[in-house]
Each structure stands twice: as C-alpha cells, then as structure tokens.
C-alpha cells in the first residue's frame, strides 16, 4: 500500500504515459487499418497486393523487432531526431493496424450483399459504396473485435517502456532498480493495467449497446 502513495507521482506519470501512448497509437491504427482494409477490397490490383503485403509482413514480425526498426532504421530514412514517443506510437500503430485491417475486412464481409448491390445499381462508385453504405453498417460487427484489439494494444504498449518512454513498465523498472520488492510493484502495475483494460471493454460494451439494432 505504501509503495503506491510514496511513489504516487511516478505511478501517475506512468499511468498517463500508458494511456496517451495507447490512445495515440489506437487512433493511428484505426486510420491506417481502415485505409488498408479499403486497399484490400479495392478494384485496383497493386493496392490490393500492397494491403496484403502490409498485413502479412507486419503480422509476422515480432513487435520488439518493429521497435528496433523504428528506433534504428526510421531515423536514418525520414526524420532524424524524432522523439521516442512518436517512434513508439508509429511502431505500435503500424503493428496494430494489421489487426484492425483484418477486423474491418471481416466486418465488410458481414454486410448483406443486397446493400452493395443496391448501392451499385444507384450508380455509386466503389469509394462511395464503401464510405456511405458498407463501412457504416460494418461498424456494428467490427466493434467487439476492436475492443480486444485495443486491449491487446494496451498490453503491447509496455514494450515502449523498454525503449525510453515513460509508462507503467518503466515505472516498474525504476522501482525495482531502487531496490523495492518486485512483488508489490507487480501487483500495483497489474492493477493499473486492469483499470485500463476494464474501462476499454466497458466503453466498447456501451458503444455496442448503443448501436444495437433489432434485425
């Protein structure tokens, strides 16, 4: 009990760090994932191939390796001197986007065929069909898998702590370096993660109920 109060500022910063890394990379993953899903169902073969390659490659790479790529390779190519926070968000976002992409793609396939056919017969283009007809209806089936994807993202964000970011893992490292017993630290950190993951699944459950439609 004492540990949490003695080091409350550290715990608070770590908690907020985990929250902000998770939120930022969730947004990035959502945007990239939807774009990639669009690529994967598009009528243009090169974009389809690009989407497939993106998903296959990133999904089969360990996240730690992606972090190494982000910290060693990316600064050489694009912007030298990017902050570790942005690099971590980039790695996490790209990695998670592949899972979002697959969730969205399977959501697209649950929309009844008639909807797309009706849209086409109205003369809508592919982009219009996807944006105005298919994706809004796919949202409902995409939300439950998204919830577990974001919970997984929260847990993966711990790796960012090993790459000079302030979040809950770096707090546990700091406290054990100071010589405090790891057992209590572990329990408090676990509790922090439980708070975040429970709130994510709670928020998504509320969203699910809001969007529920009697069919």
């Amino acid at each position: 009990m004492n540990l949490l109060f003695d080091f409350f500022p550290e715990f608070r910063d770590g908690f907020l760090g985990t929250l902000s890394i998770t939120a930022a990379s969730a947004v990035l993953a959502l945007v990239l994932g939807i774009i990639m899903a669009g690529f994967r169902v598009s009528p243009i073969p090169p974009l389809r191939a690009f989407g497939t390659a993106w998903v296959t490659l990133l999904r089969n790479t360990p996240l730690t390796l992606l972090f190494l790529i982000a910290f060693f390779v990316i600064p050489q190519i694009f912007f030298p001197g990017t902050s570790p926070y942005k690099l971590a968000v980039g790695a996490l976002g790209c990695y998670t986007s592949t899972f979002v992409c697959e969730a969205v793609r399977s959501g697209i396939s649950t929309v009844p065929i008639g909807q797309a056919e009706a849209a086409r017969s109205l003369g809508m283009t592919f982009f219009q069909t996807l944006r105005m007809i298919i994706l809004p209806q796919a949202t409902r089936t995409v939300i439950p898998p998204l919830s577990s994807i974001f919970i997984a993202l929260t847990k993966n964000s711990a790796i960012a702590g090993a790459f000079s970011n302030t979040e809950l893992f770096s707090v546990s490292k700091l406290l054990s370096d100071k010589g405090y017993a790891i057992g209590w630290t572990f329990l408090w950190i676990a509790l922090c993660y439980l708070v975040i993951t429970f709130s994510i699944s709670g928020i998504f459950r509320i969203m699910e109920r809001r969007m529920e439609v009697a069919r």
């Binding site: 690009f50 089969n60 390796l65 390779v73 997984a152 950190i189 676990a190």
Partner: protein
C-alpha cells in the same frame, strides 16, 4: 460477400480509370520503396563492406547461435504452455468450485498483465534468489523468459482448449458416461482429443505468437536472436558506423520466415480439417489478436462450435 460485389465489372471507361489508378498506385508504392533504398544508400547502408560482415564465420556463428537459442526457448515454452493450458482448461471445467475459481483467477490475472511485465518481474525475482534457485550463467534469463511465456500462453491456450472442449457435441460426453466411463476417462479419451482436433489451427496460431514473443528476451538482456544480433551489430564497426540496418534486415527475414512457416502449417491443418467430415467445426487459423489476446479467437471458436453441434444434434 466477395470483394467483387463492391464494384461492377468494369466497362471501357472504368477499365481505363482502373488502369490509371493502378499505375499511380504502383508508382506511389515503388516510389516509397525507391526513396527508402536511396536514403539508406546515401547513408552508406548498402556499401559492400556493410554486408561483407555476413561472410565472417564469427558473425554467422553468432546469428546461428542466437537462432538456436530462440528456437530452444520457443520449444520449451511451447511444450510447457500446452501442458499448463491443458491443466488450466480442465481446471476451469472442473466440478469443484474452489478449483474453478483458482484457475479462473490465474488465467484472468496473467492474461490481463502485459507479458513483458510478467517476464521482467520473474527476472528480478529470479535474480534476487539466484543462489537459492541454483541458477548459473544465463539460466536466470532463460527461465524467466520461459516461465513468463508459459504462464501467459498457457492461460491463452487454456481458453482456446476450453472453447474446443465446449464445441464437442453433447452426445459424445453423454455416450461416454452411458458406457460407464469415469470423469477423467471422459475428459482424456473423449473430450480433449476432439477438442484439440477442433482447435488445432488456433493452437498453432497461438504458438506463432509464442514464437514472436520470445523476442521479449531482448528487454531482459537474454541472448536470443534479437539481442544477440543487436549486440553483434553494436560491437562491429564498418566504415565508422555500426551495421544495424543490414543486421535488422537479415534477422527480420529470419523471423518472418519462421512465423510464416508456422502460420502456413496452421492454415494447412485448417483446410485439411474442413475436408474431413467429422461433424466438428474446425476453428479458423486466424492469428490471435495483436500478439497478445486470444479473446477474439475464442469468440470465433464459440461461434464455430455450435455450428458443428447443430449439425450433429
């Protein structure tokens, strides 16, 4: 709904438009790749000397050693996590309330905590009691990594197995009890074999996650492939620079090849299972969500289960 439902069969105009977009799309992708290569080349990352390091026996041996260490961790963790998974799954389906609660608590706790934090806590714990536990050299890191992977993946495998066991048609269990089998016999000779069969693709996909997560050993400075490679690159100086990028490219290819091989095995088994008419739906070989959570897969399995059950009943 196949993708082609989203757009009409292209007419003459649309075909031209698609072709234009194709060209623009390929040019954009190609442009990005060329830009990356040119930038890396400017930094001298493609200089022959940088890549010459892989001709040295020492460096090659280090990479092979790292690869073997990774495979060793993966093999031990895979076997232990499957054993623990079976134990926890049976525990969760037990008729005794106390056993059920303990296993459920264990599974929920270790599934909710990030694997990295579990591994790190175990590492610090093992370092503190190193002499009492009788660890020597890198054994501390090895066991921290293996046990961390085991408790996390064991919990996930337990959920997967439980979904598999629940997907076995009810008649199987009833028939087994009617033959006078005991609880243990029903579980080991009737339910688990069929449950494993149904969930084999998912189990192997989770093994891919286990394989990927062995790279977390990097954080606790265990000399598996990733850490070893990074260390070798850090100790080698070519043209006043460390060959991090050639090294990352090479070990990236190794990791992707390993994971793709395992994933291919999973989808092969899935296709094979769908062909067999055993009445048990085989779970999809979807890789569990985000290297971490099998929740999604379990949901899918629970959807997949009743399909088989409905067909049977």
């Amino acid at each position: 709904m196949s993708a082609s439902v989203l757009y009409d069969a292209p007419g003459p105009k649309a075909r031209i438009r698609n072709r234009v977009y194709s060209v623009i799309g390929s040019l954009a992708v190609l442009g990005l790749i060329v830009f990356v290569i040119v930038r890396l080349n400017d930094k001298g990352q493609f200089a022959p000397e940088m890549w010459d390091i892989f001709n040295y026996a020492g460096i090659r041996n280090d990479i092979v050693e790292g690869l073997l260490t990774t495979l060793k961790v993966f093999a031990v963790a895979a076997v232990l996590s499957l054993a623990l998974g079976a134990l926890l799954a049976v525990g969760r389906l037990s008729e005794h309330k106390a056993v059920r609660w303990v296993t459920t608590g264990f599974i929920e706790l270790f599934r909710a905590v990030p694997l990295l934090i579990t591994i790190y806590a175990l590492w610090v714990l093992f370092l503190t009691y190193k002499s009492e536990l009788g660890f020597e050299g890198t054994q501390t890191e090895f066991w921290a990594l293996v046990i961390g992977l085991t408790v996390y993946n064991g919990s996930v495998q337990a959920e997967v197995l439980r979904a598999g066991i629940n997907s076995v048609p009810k008649g199987q269990r009833e028939a087994a009890y009617a033959l006078g089998m005991r609880k243990t016999q029903v579980m080991t000779t009737v339910l688990i074999p069929q449950g494993v069969r149904a969930m084999l693709p998912t189990i192997i996909s989770q093994l891919v996650v286990t394989l990927k997560d062995t790279s977390l050993g990097y954080v606790i400075t265990y000399e598996e492939l990733l850490y070893k490679a990074q260390q070798v690159a850090g100790n080698t100086v070519v043209n006043d620079d460390n060959p991090y990028i050639p090294m990352i490219i090479v070990i990236g290819c190794i990791y992707v090849a390993l994971c793709l091989a395992l994933s291919a095995l999973a989808s092969w088994i899935e296709r094979r299972g769908r062909r067999a008419k055993s009445g048990i739906a085989v779970a999809p070989a979807e890789q569990p969500v985000a290297a971490a959570d099998a929740l999604d897969v379990v949901d899918q399995a629970e959807v997949a289960g009743p399909v088989g059950t409905a067909a049977k009943n």
